[in-house]
Symmetry: C2
Subunit: 204 residues, 2 copies
């Protein structure tokens, strides 16, 4: 096995360290967050930190560095209280990744890619057309993470849209039927295939 000490990590070239540390915690969720500014400009940006936080109430969280990257997404969420979470389908990974480019606030990533906004059911923030699973979310709270000056945003899931045929009888969405991808590190997009599902585990 390869052994890397904390001292080794601290002494690494910056890009090498970012690549290693971003990939060492395992696969990450692959979503596009859609927002609308108070001026009406639509923003869409790739996020790999969206995490299930609880089912009742239905909550999710994600990590954001609000001062530098993702500033538009953060400001729009704070202004409007609303955003959408859209699964990245395997057919749109190149455009999804391109939303991480650092565009000016006045420019919509929807205009710079083939991604198309879609408004559903009167929800204020734009969904990404064609995404197999889409969540309409409402901002609840944010927690400053003192250790590295990021923030954890907590939101409730206000509505859910998903393609016919991906939900199974017990309520689960089978994500390989949706062809949702997972993210490996900073820039790798992987397509999972379900191996097995298990029963609720009980002591032997």
């Amino acid at each position: 096995m390869v052994y890397i000490s904390r001292k080794d990590v601290d002494e690494m070239d910056k890009i090498y360290r970012i690549n290693l540390i971003n990939s060492c915690t395992g696969y990450k969720s692959a979503n596009l967050i859609g927002t609308k500014s108070s001026k009406g400009i639509l923003n869409v940006a790739v996020f790999s930190s969206i995490t299930h936080m609880g089912s009742n109430p239905p909550l999710l969280g994600f990590v954001i560095r609000p001062i530098t990257v993702n500033r538009d997404t953060y400001l729009n969420i704070k202004e409007t209280g609303k955003f959408t979470v859209n699964h990245i389908h395997q057919s749109i990974i190149a455009d999804a990744h391109h939303t991480s480019a650092n565009y000016d606030s006045e420019i919509s990533e929807f205009d710079q890619t083939d991604l198309e906004p879609e408004f559903l059911n009167g929800f204020e923030a734009p969904y990404v057309k064609g995404a197999p699973v889409r969540l309409g979310c409402t901002f609840l709270n944010e927690y400053p993470i003192l250790e590295n000056d990021t923030r954890l945003v907590i939101a409730e899931i206000s509505e859910i849209h998903f393609n016919e045929g991906i939900q199974i009888a017990d309520g689960s969405l089978q994500l390989d039927k949706a062809e949702t991808v997972a993210i490996n590190g900073l820039d790798g997009y992987a397509l999972p295939k379900l191996l097995e599902r298990f029963e609720y585990a009980k002591p032997k």
Copy 2:
């Protein structure tokens, strides 16, 4: 498309809701957390919420419900300050899932499965033998999430071990070479295959 309102979610059968909400945010990381109690009992438990929090310093976070499930993991981390994060290889998904059974604190999940503890490099908490990527972690902080009475644990990555052959030249770990799985919902284990990697995105 299927549309589910927040009212529909609130009125769902509990298990159906848990399955839907746990799967609607996308794939989750699949890791085993290893800990050792002050009495010397070794604990290992599956976690799907481990998330990259930052690269410099190297930080990760995970969500825990400390009062009910995962109580041993939480108490051991608070007592000792140390834990390990071990990627779930596709060959151990059944045993990994079984660690979610509610065993008494005096019983080690290592004794109830074929998972084997391994101590590396003098690190105080047990690693899972054979895991393709393993992180030795040190507790830093915890944030109570007021919206649902969970906690976000923040830890630093103190050392990294991984199998030869899975790291590429830019520092990334290519997780399909490691055969690390991803989690779909509560109990689905999926094996991803890399589709593509992209360059750092710049405005067109």
